[in-house]
Subunit: 380 residues, 4 copies
């Protein structure tokens, strides 16, 4: 495993490293951890890497890793930089023959995303976008309940992702930790066209597609910025129409005081329903046709194989964020292993791909377009 | 108290009678309980009324009650018939000098609602519309938190009212109980232009106004009917823009399998938030600026006077639907008593008025209008 | 209905009156509301009674009501005085031919309780002890689940009744409301041998018997008084052994800061389990043999007839304390009606009897006896 | 890190390895994974160890590791075998100069536990007993609330640890996974004198001591075995008296159908209270003197330093079982580092020691002794 970005003070870089290593199947061996070479070096040392494998830039990393013997160089790179640099970095690694794990949103424009889809296909690269919340076992069981017909045809979806940490102008505060996380996310040059809709709304969009299998046909959006001087939306409300006739509401907001990281999905079908929340990930509430409510817990008897595969601990020994993130990596590793062994591999709920990333970027673009329009519905 | 409608098999008529009598301040003394005279008579007898005060029609009721001495005749009438007859009945009772309690929505058109507002004003009638959910003590405390500035300027509202009982075509079923409740609610001739948006969406709209004090400036709606052959919406998704710049999402749906009567309001302000659900009405969750969550319970120290006034039992002895409904009547009775005693009365969260009813009907009309339009926003 | 006690400032008297009248089947027509005659008179007037039916003492009430024609006098009396007077009052009304509703605990000694059981039997009086929490529909469904074998033979019971209102010496405070409620409950002369164990522990004991059908064979208790100067226990911990071999833990405490009125019963059987809490009475959690959890709500399909009979409102329209209390009265009224009509009546979960009251008092006595003993187990 | 036990099919061995490695501060370098040499070898290979560091017995492991240069041999050993072998293994590693991490209960008799305490002291070994639940950040904050006086003097404790997986005779089933876990835990020769009280009751006992700082003065216990033919208790109910006068109830049961791993602690003080459950570890409910309830979440502002130190992820990104277990190891590593660096180290809520283990074993012994006695209280 190699890493681009994720140096000192990064939150998500550390998450990627811990998640990838959780099952002892992967080791970090190289990195370009910062666009500042000195900082990259310090970060590499702190992570126990030899200086020889800590690079001053991702370009250098590609050159020097490519020059190593195949059994010594990295198998894949994890790209955990701000959104605006994803495309160039990922494209270059693909072109150099590496597999790629990339943070979401995959790029800042759908044209770039489309380019990565095509490049990965052309080079046979395995490409994973870390929509990490689909790694939870009960999200996978929810998918099973939707797709197996257990709740009937889907009619209505409500998906919410609410946070409160940007309720004030943290990007202009002096608080070191908050500032770093807030400043690039609220800067169109680094984050792209979407603020909350891109940072967290795209998780909500992907979770909905992953679980229900439905595609959005048209949307109607109202993106807003509540904090003075903020250039990107910090609150988004979206009506959805799906191709099967289902209707949906999506909200993504970072000004919801008191909310932490509350991604919740509710789906109602013709004969059943389900409700899952990321902050209590070890339970899934489900209703059958008679309206009876069942609380399904991770590890219970009768879960779908995709859920069982994603489970490490017995019931009541809670699993959480790291394990779900690790499940995305685990699926990616299975694809790499199949590639290495020449065995067939079907990405059956294992990990999100560049195609999923592309759809996510299109979704962001369309919500921005519709917000600026007087037309009610914008097709996708 | 007199009653029009509410005979055998009625749900809401019995609720009105129990709620009005809960505090032993009011007795049912007359009624026209059905448009079928024989049924009205049977209903009156079952309620212990003498035949002399059970009328074959509401017109007869007005004539004969008006002819009684003032100390014998009813003080007010509760109108609990299907929506389409509210206007004619309420108008006639107003004109005859009676005060009126009327189920929501007050009428099927805003023109009719406007007419009732003017008639009540002209005649000095006290007019109450039973948006009963604002009778809960903690709804009144939530209103206090919003209006006292405790959560700062309101930015975002999510209000939901989800039920599942109309997920299938109950109005065409043979089930007696369900059929009666479902058939008129899904019939435009009796219910008016709105299905779910009228039956329950109007509660959500009123609850939002009651708590936040904000008025809707424009809305964007997507009303749908999922059940084949149903003429009115059974699912509604609405984006809201409030006059102060706040944004909102409202959903009202009767096809949410497993949901019972789940009216929930969440409000986020600049420095706090609150969350209340009708099915667990004895608790209100609130957040302050630092994000700390407090669970406020009915009867706790420090509640607003409006909440205390609406409380009968000590903490932990749960109160529920009847008590909240009774609180609406209690407020109406205070207005009647003030009128009788010639003392001043300020309707400070006591009960919803004909004006509130008018705004509710306008809201329903505008959601229907917007649904049928390609224009994104419809002003109110 | 007549009432002894329950005058100005009483909490439970008003509850009895509202509960008895909730279904419009009963009217208060006479009372001796206080041992202070002037206060009794004021209370009667406030309740709308004529002075002729408001008595200066319960003895006068018996004499004068007995002298009225049968169709005018009260059918039964509700005794809502402090515990120490229950026996004398109830016994006198029984002897005079009246039926009786009496607050719990029925008496302060088991000898008195035994006497009431025998007197009621001898005179054919219907005697109801208001263990009101067994009036909740889902408690009745829980009883059905236990007794129908749905959870298999019961192995373990945990029952808790925790309150916090006596965590400080409220009985010595100047606060009027609190003082009155606290002072007699902490006075052995008025309350009997038990403090918390009598006031609320007896509810926990009865709820357990009602639901499981099990009798306590032996107990081991640790009653404590945490507040300086308090003569009766304010905290009780009890181990239980039931006749079928099941084990139990019971706690009743009034010093649990933050707890309001938290009566909770959990029962585990050989192949299932259930969990119910009084503060969220409209849901019952149940587990089957495979460990799957179901949330059963009042009004759901498939509830036991005893639960359905005790339900007034549709699902999601919450019912609470008053309705449960009214269900106890409703069962008592059915017994009275059967008596009046000469029809057979089986008390199948309708209301608690004097026999239940006797067992409750014995339980209190034995917990006190065991607390003062070095012997581990005390038989019942 | 070396390991004794934890080979193929072990649950807790894998947990130790993942927890110890979570923060990339420790690597497994040697092990004797099974008393069956072939199985030990297979296990070592599966874990990526060279055969040279996989031993056929723990005795061989001590001999050969001791012979390695100091910078190559293991620093400490984790003992994850059944209880009966803990003493011999741990003692031998201590004597050979290694530090030790040992599963709970530390030994099967208090004499053995006392011996380990003395041996560790004599040799200067750092000894950690993995009462892992005290690693949760909010448990550490709860400790802070108790010990800082925030809730006043502790009066009452209720601690529960309920599981359902042994509700039937799993130890006699053919199910491979269940059988292995169940068989040694229900065998007195391997588990010691306690069944449920030893396996999980000791966690409850330690959690109570850790949070409150109180010591048990006397106890009264009722241990039972509900499943036919089971030699050890599968259900335990215990009354507690603490040295400060506080009272407690503890239950540990493995026959609670539907319960998974439900360790819950409630503490009531003179002016506040708290409630924490292991299955929802990211929230802690607390009450202040006025009875107001606050929901404290991991990562909130204002948490105790011990809680902050134990936190890796931002609020709303849930942490769970692995992270808590890793926090125990992290504390142990700090002690090792201080030892290595010659810096002072105070074990301030960092990890449980052999002394804690000794108190736990005494507790188990006393519950068994009291169960078999007619005497009510047994002192500790």
């Amino acid at each position: 495993m190699g890493m681009v970005g994720g140096g000192e003070g990064s939150f998500i870089g550390a998450v990627h490293r811990t998640a990838a290593a959780l099952d002892h199947r992967c080791a970090l061996t190289a990195g370009a951890f910062s666009s500042d070479p000195a900082r990259s070096t310090r970060s590499g040392r702190a992570l126990g890497l030899p200086d020889s494998r800590t690079y001053r830039s991702w370009q250098e990393m590609i050159d020097r890793e490519s020059a190593l013997p195949a059994d010594q160089r990295i198998d894949f790179v994890s790209v955990v930089t701000p959104n605006d640099s994803h495309h160039a970095i990922a494209r270059a690694f693909i072109d150099a023959g590496f597999h790629v794990v990339c943070d979401k949103p995959i790029t800042t424009t759908s044209a770039q995303a489309h380019d990565l889809v095509e490049a990965a296909n052309a080079k046979g690269a395995v490409f994973c976008v870390t929509y990490n919340y689909t790694g939870y076992p009960l999200v996978r069981h929810a998918r099973h309940l939707c797709r197996s017909g257990a709740i009937g045809g889907v009619r209505k979806v409500i998906v919410e992702y609410t946070q409160g940490w940007l309720a004030s102008a943290l990007e202009r505060s002096e608080s070191a930790g908050g500032f770093k996380q807030a400043s690039w996310r609220t800067d169109p040059a680094q984050a792209g066209a979407g603020g909350a809709i891109g940072d967290i709304g795209s998780h909500a969009e992907h979770l909905t597609r992953f679980v229900t299998g439905l595609e959005v046909e048209a949307l109607c959006a109202d993106l807003t910025s509540f904090v003075d001087g903020r250039a990107l939306d910090d609150d988004a409300s979206v009506l959805l129409r799906f191709t099967n006739g289902a209707r949906g509401m999506l909200t993504a907001s970072q000004i919801c005081v008191g909310q932490e990281n509350n991604l919740r999905l509710r789906v109602w079908g013709e004969k059943g329903a389900l409700d899952w929340s990321q902050e209590t990930p070890n339970e899934l509430r489900a209703w059958n046709e008679s309206g009876a409510e069942q609380v399904i817990r991770r590890g219970n008897a009768g879960l779908a194989p995709d859920a069982i595969r994603a489970t490490r601990l017995p019931p009541g020994h809670p699993e959480a964020f790291y394990e779900a993130f690790a499940n995305i990596y685990a699926g990616f590793f299975e694809a790499l292993a199949a590639r290495a062994n020449g065995t067939p591999f079907t990405n059956d709920a294992h990990f999100p791909t560049a195609h999923d990333g592309l759809i996510g970027v299109r979704f962001i673009e369309k919500t921005v377009e519709n917000t600026n329009s007087n037309q009610k519905w914008t097709g996708l």
